[in-house]
């Protein structure tokens, strides 16, 4: 009996990664994955639905726990090859209601109902002859199947497994459920269609839909990242202080509130990107190399600013410091840590003063008032009345948007690489080299174009025009296309309107 909707039963011994494979293919991080055997006790179905229609179903099964005895029972009576599927069905009937071969009966039921077999082994552990019993039982069912060599540990015994598996399955594939890419997942799904010709159309449609969904998610992620940048670069806070004695305390409070708001906004964007890719239970943390007293690297951590964003030379080339280099007109509204880059580039450019503020991470509170004569009059009035008004933001440090963008891209990279089989925290990998981020590898034209957008945002923090947010979103979308290319897509060249072609299409990682 062949079911109308393709069904693929994921079978194998306990703790070989069946549920991990199902979690990865179905993008469901709620699937319980546990080192304890028998975590999966029931057959669970994971339908892949497109526009409400089920295109195929993955079936997660309990693992083989007593295959050799089951095979011994099957062989207790001599049957021909054609009778073997019936003999397997007899096993299910004979022990129904008993405590014998519970898992075997559960996992064989969907196969006898017409599901194709996806037999999972762990290629990081040695092959042992007792596994033959499982393969033999599956062969007795007479259903088409393929084998997946998963990788849970660190050793490599795939070759010996393949020698055994090739004798039982016409298709054997490596599939590391914990680090497989989207493209590899798509390839695996495309292999599924080889198991039964009449299932090809459904699998093809599902694959096309998954690819379209991936592309849409990427565009949504670009919107989230660009929205984060817009909000961060236009964020300001103001405070009116009546009591002269409380000015310092209020200023500190304002400064803390401002930076906390930026941190919170970044966290919100991250959670939304994670939710976009179905990582509801994941935790993403900065790499262990960037150690801080707090577990997660802070947005304004000194190490992060040293390793991420653009170098001083790149900031100059992108025009971020053009005004400063020419007129020393770096925004003095930043304050905080030492100027780590001033010594380096100041010497190189012969103008250390032009880099004043490059290394500073925090924005500074300043007094405000309207410009011109009204402002003077208001200041005079405030001086006599004692009421003062302060503002902080937009964050004017040239490297701030680059650090923010770098962190967002690193986070995004970790999200798209993470499979739903992973559990617990995963380090957000930093890149290699002197600077650990991604933005430092952008082509000069791309950096310059982005910097122009950042500067325009800062200049218009209260009401940025629509085209600005739109251009930024499109620029981020082009970057994300390089980070997470979708199968069948033309590689993004990274060209921006009016900018030169980039030196490299893919950022070095």
């Amino acid at each position: 009996m062949i079911p109308a909707v393709p069904r693929f039963a994921v079978v194998g011994r306990v703790n070989k990664g069946k549920s991990s494979i199902v979690a990865t293919l179905a993008e469901d991080d709620s699937v319980r994955i546990d080192a304890r055997p028998g975590t999966t006790t029931e057959v669970r179905e994971f339908p892949v639905r497109v526009d409400g229609r089920t295109l195929f179903v993955l079936v997660d099964t309990p693992g083989f726990e007593d295959a050799p005895r089951a095979l011994a029972w099957l062989r207790a009576r001599e049957v021909s090859a054609a009778e073997r599927p019936a003999r397997v069905a007899e096993l299910l009937r004979a022990f129904e209601g008993t405590s014998e071969f519970v898992e075997e009966r559960r996992l064989l039921a969907p196969i006898l109902a017409g599901a194709s077999v996806l037999y999972v082994v762990d290629g990081t552990h040695p092959y042992r002859p007792n596994y033959d019993a499982e393969m033999e039982i599956l062969r007795w069912t007479g259903r088409p199947g393929m084998a997946l060599v998963n990788r849970i540990g660190t050793e490599d015994h795939a070759a010996e497994w393949r020698r055994a598996l090739d004798q039982h399955f016409k298709i054997v594939r490596d599939f590391d459920a914990f680090s497989v890419s989207f493209e590899e997942r798509v390839h695996l799904l495309q292999v599924f269609r080889e198991l039964r010709p009449d299932w090809r159309a459904a699998v093809d449609e599902a694959v096309a839909a998954l690819v379209a969904q991936r592309r849409r998610r990427r565009e949504e992620a670009a919107a989230l990242v660009s929205s984060l940048l817009v909000d961060a670069l236009t964020h300001t806070e103001e405070l009116a202080v009546e009591d002269e004695a409380a000015i310092e305390e209020q200023r500190d409070r304002l400064e803390r509130s401002f930076h906390d708001a930026l941190r919170a906004r970044e966290q919100e964007a991250r959670r939304r990107v994670e939710a976009l890719y179905g990582h509801r239970e994941a935790r993403f943390d900065e790499g262990p190399g960037l150690e801080r007293p707090v577990y997660r690297q802070d947005l304004f951590a000194e190490e992060a600013w040293k390793m991420l964003g653009l170098s001083p030379a790149q900031l100059v080339a992108a025009g971020a410091l053009a005004g400063a280099a020419i007129g020393g007109a770096v925004d003095a509204a930043v304050g905080g840590a030492s100027i780590f880059a001033g010594t380096v580039l100041g010497g190189a450019l012969g103008g250390g003063g032009a880099l004043y503020g490059v290394g500073r991470r925090y924005a500074r509170v300043r007094s405000i008032g309207p410009p011109g004569i009204p402002g003077l009059l208001l200041d005079v009035q405030r001086y006599w009345s004692g009421a003062r008004r302060f503002r902080i933001g937009p964050h004017a440090q040239p490297n701030f948007p680059w650090v923010l963008l770098d962190r967002a891209l690193l986070h995004y990279d970790s999200v798209v690489r993470r499979t739903h089989a992973r559990r617990g925290a995963i380090a957000v990998d930093a890149g290699e080299g002197a600077r650990a981020g991604i933005v430092a590898e952008f082509a000069r034209g791309e950096r310059r174009a982005l910097e122009a957008l950042f500067r325009r945002l800062r200049r218009d923090p209260y009401d940025p025009p629509r085209w600005l947010a739109d251009d930024l979103e499109r620029a981020i979308a082009r970057i994300l296309r390089r980070v997470d290319p979708v199968p069948g897509e033309e590689p993004s060249t990274g060209e921006l309107p009016g900018g030169p072609a980039p030196a490299r299409g893919t950022p070095a990682r």
């Binding site: 469901d28 080192a35 304890r36 029931e42 409400g52 693992g63 007593d66 040695p126 042992r128 849409r216």
Partner: protein, 558 residues
């Protein structure tokens, strides 16, 4: 945006020039070709584009009401999870409704959401009606004020004639000044500051119609309204570029109506009463020829078309008036002036009001309506935000994941406190579980760890499944103690492993020591399994609650 060829316009019965959203210079619907999918902005078919761009506004692909509703919906969706939006849109739009051009698809989407979630704020139609109402009110007000101004200015009781200067200054001069101000706003736009076409009157109208709409919709959503309008007025909205032209159209509607009212007022007085006109001045140098030159210059735009409306020198000379003497000055005409002559200014005044008052306002109104329609027709429906919405609407909704939740697992068992280990120097039996290789170092490692001599070695759990000794274990181990089961760490303590231990326990009795050594056996080494796998075996065997059963990692070579 429903197909206007098949759906009647609902609601407004106003003439098109005052109607909401749908405009045309002559108020007629323009027929366009069949709807075609357009990738970018919604343009009319190419064949009519040139003509339409000159004379007639392109049919707006997006109406004003839809634009406002679109902004309201985008604002609501901005913070919603993407998955929830996809499911909502799938439920709202049938599959066959998801084809078509971008504008049509957006229109169907909005219509479906309005129907599906009527409790949400969709103020588009209300705002359109409010704006239409404001336009109507301004038109009525303009008519009334124009009529009243003309009546007041041309008021003639018979004592002193109507001063032409007064009429010119009020009905022509002031309007010319306002027109110059409007033109300067075009030529020196404030758009660089993001605030084009600023004007007090326009700002008042701009503040009025949203309030009317909010009142009409009920005040329950005051905060939401406020937030929406704040967003609509910001430069981030699609509506931002259109509103100044809508407001300009509203104010020019007032201007056109005012001038029409003034003209009608003048005509009424001219036709149904007798009016004497005059002009006078204190300036000695401003004599009749000079005044004639001035008014002739003013009359130049229509003099070729309507010569009678250009005042002649004779008219100017005949109608110079002195209020001191209370008489016309020309040739001692006194008060008994020629009626046909002293009333001759009416044509000039009507033409002046029409040319310098009505015509510019009508042109400005036409420009405003055309511009608003063009902006609506050319809305950037291919910008990133709209493109994402359309991709979501047109693309497939993929759902994966289990339908039924996973049953809960029981917690890990601790197991009883193990009894003391057997004394050293005994003989032990070894059971190799599931094809553990007989590595040369394995026996030595076992003997070293258990401090015993290995009496016999058995295999269990192999592929044939026939080597389960059951009750024969007692004889098989031949009195050795402990019985050491060696299992590889990557094998789980599954049902078969539990059965082996139970069989051993059943065969050996309740107090014979059993020891499970969890090992890592490879071709080149024998050593302990990872702590986590040892823990897994301990927890897995704890359910047997056997105090004489211990689980340890194989220590391997020293």
């Amino acid at each position: 945006m429903a197909d206007p060829r098949t759906v009647k316009k609902r609601g407004s019965k106003l003439p098109p020039i005052l109607g909401p959203g749908r405009i045309g210079l002559r108020g007629r619907r323009r027929r366009t070709g069949p709807a075609r999918p357009t990738r970018g902005r919604a343009h009319p078919p190419a064949g009519t584009r040139a003509r339409q761009s000159l004379m007639f506004p392109p049919r707006p692909a997006v109406t004003l009401a839809d634009l406002i509703d679109l902004e309201a919906q985008l604002a609501r969706d901005r913070d919603a999870p993407a998955g929830a939006l996809e499911r909502r849109d799938r439920e709202a739009l049938r599959e066959d409704s998801r084809a078509g051009g971008r504008a049509e698809l957006l229109g169907r989407w909005l219509a479906a959401l309005r129907e599906r979630e009527p409790g949400l704020l969709f103020p588009g139609r209300t705002v359109s009606r409010a704006l239409a109402g404001v336009r109507l009110a301004l038109a009525a007000l303009g008519l009334a004020l124009g009529w009243g101004a003309a009546t007041a200015l041309l008021h003639y009781t018979g004592e002193h004639p109507v001063n032409v200067w007064d009429v010119l200054l009020v009905l022509v001069g002031v309007q010319v000044l306002l027109l110059l101000f409007l033109l300067s706003a075009f030529l020196f736009p404030l758009a660089t500051l993001g605030a084009p076409l600023v004007g007090v009157f326009r700002e008042a109208v701009g503040a009025l119609y949203p309030r009317l709409a909010r009142r009409a919709a009920g005040t329950a959503r005051a905060e939401e309204w406020r937030a929406l309008w704040h967003r609509l007025r910001s430069r981030r909205s699609l509506y931002h570029a259109v509103e100044p032209w809508l407001l300009l159209g509203a104010t020019q509607t007032f201007g056109v109506a005012f001038n029409v009212g003034a003209l009608l007022g003048c005509l009424r007085l001219v036709v149904f009463s007798d009016i004497a006109f005059a002009w006078s001045t204190t300036l000695v140098d401003l004599d009749a020829p000079r005044f004639h030159a001035l008014v002739s210059a003013l009359a130049r735009p229509w003099a070729w078309l309507w010569p009678d409306a250009a005042p002649s020198l004779a008219l100017v000379e005949a109608t110079r008036y002195s209020r001191l003497e209370g008489a016309y000055l020309h040739a001692g005409a006194g008060r008994a002036a020629d009626l046909a002559l002293v009333g001759g200014w009416w044509r000039f005044l009507l033409a002046a009001v029409a040319t310098y008052g009505l015509l510019p306002r009508a042109l400005a109104l036409a420009v405003a309506r055309l511009r608003a329609a063009r902006l609506l027709a050319r809305l950037p429906l291919d910008d990133a935000e709209i493109s994402r919405v359309l991709a979501r609407l047109a693309g497939p909704l993929v759902e994966t994941g289990a339908v039924v939740p996973e049953p809960a697992l029981s917690g890990a068992l601790q197991g009883p406190v193990p009894a003391a280990a057997p004394p050293a120097g005994t003989r032990c039996a070894v059971v190799l579980w599931r094809d553990v290789p007989e590595h040369p170092g394995l026996a030595a490692a076992i003997a070293r760890q258990v401090r015993c001599e290995i009496a016999n070695v058995h295999a269990a759990g192999g592929r044939e499944g026939r080597d389960e000794l059951g009750a024969r274990w007692l004889a098989a181990v031949d009195g050795a103690e402990p019985v050491v089961v060696v299992a590889e760490g990557f094998e789980a303590p599954d049902r078969a492993a539990l059965r082996l231990v139970r069989d051993l326990r059943a065969a050996l009795g309740p107090r014979r020591h059993l020891l499970v050594l969890v090992a890592e056996v490879r071709e080149d080494r024998v050593g302990p399994a990872a702590d986590a796998t040892v823990r897994t075996w301990r927890e897995g065997l704890a359910r047997l609650e056997d105090p004489y059963l211990a689980v340890e990692p194989l220590r391997g070579a020293p």
